[in-house]
C-alpha cells in the first residue's frame, strides 16, 4: 500500500490517465507539437501511457515561418528517432491561399494568423481531439480551462459555458464539426515540468540552455536578431549569454540572460526567479489584460 506518494508520480499518473482516455474516446486525435519543452513532455507521457505500443498520435506542427532553427532541428530528430508521423501546415500558405494580410511592424507576429492555419488543418484531416501542452499555471485564462475543452464549429472556446468535469469522467463527446482540445499537463507547474525532465532524462532543444546569441534590448526584453524582425537605427546589437525559458516564435519570444547550462542549473534559476514564465519571455501576452482569452475565442489552443 502506497501511503505517501511523490508529487511527480501523482502528476504523471494523472497525465497517463488522460492520454489513455484520449486513445479510448477519440477516433482521430493529434498532438500539437511546437518543439518546446511542454509538447516534448507530452510525447514522453504519451509513449509511457501506451507502452508497449508506439505512440499512435501523429504530430501536428503549425509552422509560423518564424521558428528557431534549433526547434525545427530538434523536431526532425525526434520524429526520425521515434518514427512519428509529422504533419506540417504553414501559416505562409494560409496567407497566400486566403489572400490574407501578413503582420507587419518591428516584431511581426503571426499569433492570430496561426489559429486560422490550425483550424484549417483540423478540418482538412478531421481531427476530433487536439492534444496541447497548455498548463494552467502559465496564464490566467488558461487557469480557467477544463482538461477536455470543447471548441465549437468555429474552433472557439466558450469560457462561460464549459461542461462540468467531475471526478475522472472526462466527457469528450462532440457533434460533427466540433473538436476537443485536451490538456494532459494542465496541473503541472513550470518547475514540475523541469523536475520531471530531470528525473526522466528527457532531451530538449539546446535553446533552453545558456548559449551566446546576438540580441537587441527592447523595453527590457532581449529579442534575438533574426531575419523575421525589423531592426532600426536605434537598436544596439549585443552579444549576450542567454537561454530561452519558453520557445515560441522568434518574433515574440524573449531570451533571458543566463549561465544555466544544464537541467539542474535551470531548476535553480527558475526556483529563485521572481518573475513568471510568460511574463519574462512573451511580448505577445502583454498587449492587453485579456490577450490569451481573446486568442482562445478565435480558435487558439
Amino acid at each position: 500500500m502506497k501511503l505517501v506518494s511523490n508529487y511527480l508520480d501523482t502528476l504523471e499518473s494523472e497525465s497517463i490517465y488522460i492520454f489513455r482516455e484520449i486513445y479510448g474516446q477519440f477516433k482521430k486525435p493529434v498532438l500539437l507539437f511546437s518543439g518546446g519543452k511542454d509538447s516534448t513532455l507530452l510525447i514522453h507521457l504519451a509513449r509511457k501511457a501506451l507502452f508497449p505500443a508506439n505512440s499512435p498520435f501523429p504530430l501536428l506542427h503549425i509552422d509560423t515561418g518564424h521558428n528557431f532553427k534549433e526547434a525545427l532541428d530538434f523536431r526532425d530528430e525526434l520524429v526520425s528517432k521515434f518514427g512519428f508521423k509529422l504533419i506540417v501546415r504553414k501559416v505562409e500558405d494560409t496567407i497566400k491561399e486566403k489572400n490574407l494580410v501578413d503582420s507587419t511592424g518591428k516584431f511581426p507576429s503571426r499569433n492570430i494568423l496561426q489559429s486560422i492555419t490550425l483550424l484549417d488543418a483540423i478540418n482538412e484531416f478531421g481531427f476530433d481531439a487536439c492534444i496541447g501542452g497548455g498548463r494552467r499555471d502559465e496564464e490566467k485564462a488558461r487557469a480557467k480551462e477544463r482538461i477536455f475543452s470543447i471548441r465549437d464549429k468555429n474552433g472557439a472556446w466558450q469560457p462561460y459555458n464549459q461542461r462540468p468535469e467531475l471526478w475522472k469522467l472526462f466527457n469528450g463527446k462532440i457533434n460533427k464539426g466540433e473538436n476537443v482540445r485536451v490538456f494532459p499537463i494542465s496541473n503541472w507547474s513550470e518547475l514540475d515540468v523541469w523536475n520531471y525532465i530531470l528525473r526522466e532524462k528527457i532531451e530538449l532543444p539546446s535553446l533552453y540552455f545558456a548559449h551566446d546569441r546576438e540580441c537587441i534590448n527592447f523595453n527590457g526584453k532581449l529579442i534575438a536578431v533574426s531575419d523575421f524582425i525589423n531592426l532600426d537605427e536605434n537598436d544596439i546589437i549585443e552579444k549576450k549569454k542567454v537561454r530561452y525559458r519558453t520557445v515560441g516564435d522568434m518574433t515574440c519570444t524573449a531570451a533571458i540572460e543566463s549561465e544555466a547550462a544544464n537541467i539542474e542549473q535551470v531548476i535553480d534559476e527558475i526556483a529563485s526567479s521572481n518573475i513568471s514564465e510568460r511574463g519574462e519571455t512573451r511580448i505577445d501576452d502583454q498587449f492587453s489584460d485579456a490577450a490569451m482569452e481573446d486568442r482562445k475565442l478565435q480558435g487558439y489552443f
Partner: protein, 410 residues
C-alpha cells in the same frame, strides 16, 4: 512531498478569491509581473487586488465576481498545493461541483458579519454529496467584528448543527481576515483567544485522500495492440492489488481470466498496487474492452450488478430541466450505456436537509433522489463502499452536455 487539492467555497463577497490571493502572497509565490498586472487592472492605485489573481476572465474582472473555477498552484517544502477557486453565486454551483469532485479538503468561508447563509448550506451539501474528507470552516472578516470571540463561537456552534445533519467529516474552524492576513498563514496578534492552528498550518498537516482498501477494482480505459497482435488492457488500478497468476473476473460480462503479465510504465512487474496505471495481459487470449470493470475472483468484495440504480443526483444543465423518462448516456469510469430517469423520489431541502417529496423537483443545482434505469446491466459498488466505482455522470444525447452527476446509494 505529496499533493494536496483543496477548494474554497463561500457566498459572493465572502472573500474566497481574496483568501487565495492572500495565501499565495504570504507564501511569496506570486511573481512580480503578476503583482504588477493585478495592480494595473485595479482602479485603486497602490493597492493589490488579491482577488484579481484568480479572476482570469475579462467579465470576472469587470463584474468583480468569480464565474467559473480557476486553478492555482503553490508549493511549500512539504507539499504541492492545487487550489480550486470556485464561484459563490447560486447559478454557478455546477462549477463548484466540478471543482470539488477531486479535492482532499474544502474551505468554506463564512462572512463574520453575516453568519451562515443559504450558500453556506448549499456548499456544505456539496461537501457532503461528494464525501469530501476534510472541511475547514474559515470565518472571515473578523476585523469587521472587532475580532470578537463571541461572534466566532456563535457561528461555529450554528455550523456544527449543519455538519452533524450532513455527517461532514474532520471539521475545523478558523477565525481569519483574508484581507489583512490574520490566522491565514501567521497566527493573529488580534485574536490571542484563538490558540489553534492557522489555516495554512492545518493545510500542511491534514491527510490527502487515499483510495485503497481490500476491494480490488480495475477499470479498462483502452486496448493497446502491438505488432505481435497480443492485446493489452490499459487502465487504472482503482483499489486493491493484482499480481501475475491472479484469477479475475471481467464485468459486467462476468468473464473469467488469469493474469499473464502486468506492465507499469515501461516495465514488466509481478504485481500492481492501488493507484498504478497498468496494462494487463491475460492467459488464453481472453479479451476485455473499454468500460469493463475487473475484480478478483476470490477473496474480494463482490460487485453489484443491476440495471436499476437508486442514486442521489445533482442537476447541472441550465438549459434543460431534468425530465423523467428522457434518455441520457450514463457514464461510470469508462463504461457507457443509455439510461433514463424513471422516477424522482425526493428533493433535498436546502434549509432543513430533509427529503422533500413534493413534485416539480427538477431545477438546476438541485440535489434529488432518483431511480436511473440503464439499457445494459452495469457492475458497480455503492458510493459509500468505493466512491470511484459508485459515481457517474449523465450526458445529454443531443448536445453532449454533462447534465448531471450522481452517486449510487444502492
Amino acid at each position: 512531498m505529496d499533493i494536496l487539492r483543496f477548494i474554497t467555497a463561500g457566498s459572493i463577497d465572502d472573500g474566497k478569491s481574496t483568501l487565495i490571493g492572500r495565501l499565495l502572497y504570504d507564501i511569496g509565490q506570486i511573481k512580480s509581473d503578476v503583482i504588477q498586472s493585478v495592480s494595473k487592472s485595479n482602479k485603486a492605485v497602490n493597492t493589490i487586488n488579491l482577488a484579481h489573481i484568480t479572476d482570469g476572465l475579462r467579465s470576472e474582472r469587470e463584474q468583480g465576481i468569480t464565474i467559473d473555477i480557476a486553478y492555482k498552484y503553490f508549493t511549500t517544502p512539504n507539499r504541492k498545493y492545487i487550489i480550486t477557486d470556485a464561484p459563490g453565486h447560486f447559478q454557478y454551483t455546477k462549477n463548484l461541483v466540478t471543482g470539488a469532485s477531486e479535492v482532499d479538503a474544502m474551505i468554506i468561508l463564512i462572512d463574520a458579519n453575516n453568519g451562515i447563509t443559504e450558500q453556506t448550506r448549499r456548499h456544505s451539501l456539496v461537501a457532503s454529496f461528494l464525501n469530501i474528507p476534510n472541511v475547514l470552516v474559515a470565518i472571515n472578516k473578523m476585523d469587521d467584528v472587532a475580532y470578537s470571540e463571541e461572534q466566532f463561537t456563535s457561528i461555529k456552534n450554528q455550523y456544527l448543527v449543519i455538519a452533524e445533519k450532513l455527517k461532514l467529516q474532520n471539521i475545523s474552524f478558523f477565525p481569519i481576515s483574508a484581507l489583512l492576513g490574520d490566522n491565514v498563514n501567521l497566527a493573529s496578534s488580534n485574536m490571542i483567544w484563538y490558540k489553534d492552528n492557522t489555516l495554512m498550518q492545518c493545510l500542511e498537516t491534514i491527510n490527502a485522500k487515499i483510495t485503497n482498501n481490500h476491494i480490488t477494482r480495475f477499470s479498462v480505459q483502452c486496448v493497446i495492440e502491438t505488432k505481435n497482435f497480443e492485446k493489452g488492457f490499459a487502465g487504472k488500478l482503482i483499489s486493491g492489488n493484482l499480481k501475475i497468476g491472479d484469477s479475475i473476473e471481467i464485468n459486467p460480462e462476468r468473464k473469467s481470466a488469469i493474469i499473464k503479465n502486468i506492465i507499469i510504465g515501461k516495465s514488466y512487474k509481478n504485481e500492481a498496487m492501488a493507484g498504478d496505471d497498468i496494462c494487463l495481459y491475460f492467459e488464453n487470449s481472453i479479451e476485455a474492452k473499454r468500460g469493463d470493470l475487473i475484480s478478483k475472483s476470490a477473496n474480494d468484495s463482490p460487485l453489484l450488478f443491476s440495471n436499476k440504480l437508486e442514486t442521489t443526483l445533482c442537476w447541472l444543465n441550465e438549459e434543460k430541466q431534468l425530465q423523467s423518462g428522457e434518455e441520457y448516456l450514463l457514464r461510470i469510469n469508462s463504461f457507457e450505456t443509455k439510461c433514463s430517469i424513471t422516477s424522482i423520489l425526493h428533493k433535498i431541502d436546502i434549509q432543513s436537509f430533509e427529503k422533500n417529496t413534493e413534485k416539480n423537483l427538477s431545477g438546476i443545482n438541485d440535489f434529488l433522489g432518483v431511480i436511473i434505469e440503464t439499457a445494459e446491466e452495469i457492475s458497480y459498488d455503492p458510493f459509500s463502499i468505493l466512491p470511484e466505482t459508485g459515481c457517474g455522470i449523465l450526458i445529454d444525447l443531443k448536445t453532449n452536455y454533462t447534465s448531471a452527476a450522481f452517486i449510487i446509494e444502492k
